[in-house]
């Protein structure tokens, strides 16, 4: 039963994601997480000012419940289904990250330099998290979907727009890590 407490290999994780997409399809819904961000805007009252947010948000209530489940799943996973939180990334990656100043590489689940509560004492960290969030939220809506909506649902449906979006995801990610990281870290 040791496998319960160790990280899942890719060949368990990938099929599980496909299974989750299958379950959602079978209950008549589509797998796409970023739609929830739009729903949250509407609930916050954005529909009063901007037409884009004018829709019956209750039709997306099911997706908000999935999000609530995702939070609970994170709690269950981290409290009951793991003994060692360290993510075993490859030594080459650990080296790269050490050089950038991320000493928690290979020793924790997220870099403590960005995600430990103390890190919020640094204005630079707050800005990085906030700007990164804005880019994710803006980009995902502009592209009409995120990793779940495009890379999984859209590509599974052989949608060319999703392929363009996923190529975009990778261009953006590669530029950030190879060209912008050395400037900001």
């Amino acid at each position: 039963m040791n496998w319960i407490y160790t990280p899942w290999p890719w060949y368990v994780s990938g099929p599980m994601i496909a299974f989750i997409m299958f379950l959602l399809l079978m209950v008549g819904k589509n797998f796409g997480m970023s739609a929830n961000l739009r729903t949250m805007c509407t609930i916050c009252g954005a529909d009063k000012k901007v037409d884009f947010f004018k829709f019956d948000w209750k039709s997306q209530k099911w997706n908000l419940i999935v999000v609530l489940g995702a939070v609970i799943g994170g709690y269950i996973g981290s409290h009951f289904l793991i003994t060692d939180m360290a993510v075993a990334i490859t030594p080459a990656t650990v080296n790269d990250l050490n050089e950038l100043g991320f000493n928690s590489a290979g020793a924790s689940y997220l870099p403590t330099e960005l995600f430990e509560t103390n890190s919020l004492l640094s204005l630079k960290t707050i800005l990085i998290l906030a700007i990164g969030g804005v880019l994710v939220g803006f980009g995902t809506r502009y592209a009409g979907g995120c990793t779940s909506g495009h890379a999984i649902s859209g590509l599974s449906d052989l949608q060319l727009p999703s392929l363009i979006a996923v190529i975009g995801f990778f261009i953006g990610g590669l530029v950030m890590i190879h060209f912008i990281f050395p400037l900001i870290f």
């Binding site: 899942w8 990938g14 496909a18 989750i20 997409m21 379950l23 959602l24 399809l25 209950v27 008549g28 819904k29 997480m33 961000l37 739009r38 805007c41 901007v50 947010f53 489940g69 939070v71 799943g73 994170g74 269950i76 793991i82 990334i89 790269d96 689940y109 997220l110 870099p111 430990e116 960290t125 707050i126 990085i128 998290l129 906030a130 990164g132 969030g133 880019l135 994710v136 939220g137 803006f138 995902t140 809506r141 592209a143 009409g144 995120c146 990793t147 890379a151 999984i152 590509l155 599974s156 949608q159 999703s162 363009i164 996923v166 995801f169 261009i171 953006g172 530029v175 890590i177 912008i180």
Partner: protein
Amino acid sequence: MRSLIYLFIGILFGITMFKSEAASWFRIYEMFKFESFHMYGIIGSALVIGIIITQSIKKFNIKSFYGEKIKFNPKAKSFSRYMFGGIIFGLGWALVGACPGPMFTLIGVGYLPILIVIAGSIVGTLLYGLLKDKLPH
């Protein structure tokens, strides 16, 4: 009853995001460095099985658990919105190491600073709504 099913699917999703380490900033960095097969294996295998599932549903006209037709929403044809939007998303994804599913899972794991990322992504979505008509689509 249906709400409980959605909650169950969400919990399964959250556990998967956590246990697969797809919710780990380190795994996203490693992926963009091409230094491990892990993330490519996850996305690749999900995709191969996803294609088989989706195409089978279409070909054999499989109905949902409730006997309804399963609907897919084809994406509108365009290049610029997917490419530009995708690049902007990718920049953010690599910076904060979380996309719109895992960022919620990380609240459950107990990382409070992720709330700033979520707040940022709601603001980003709002900005898109405000600027939508001025952007090339």
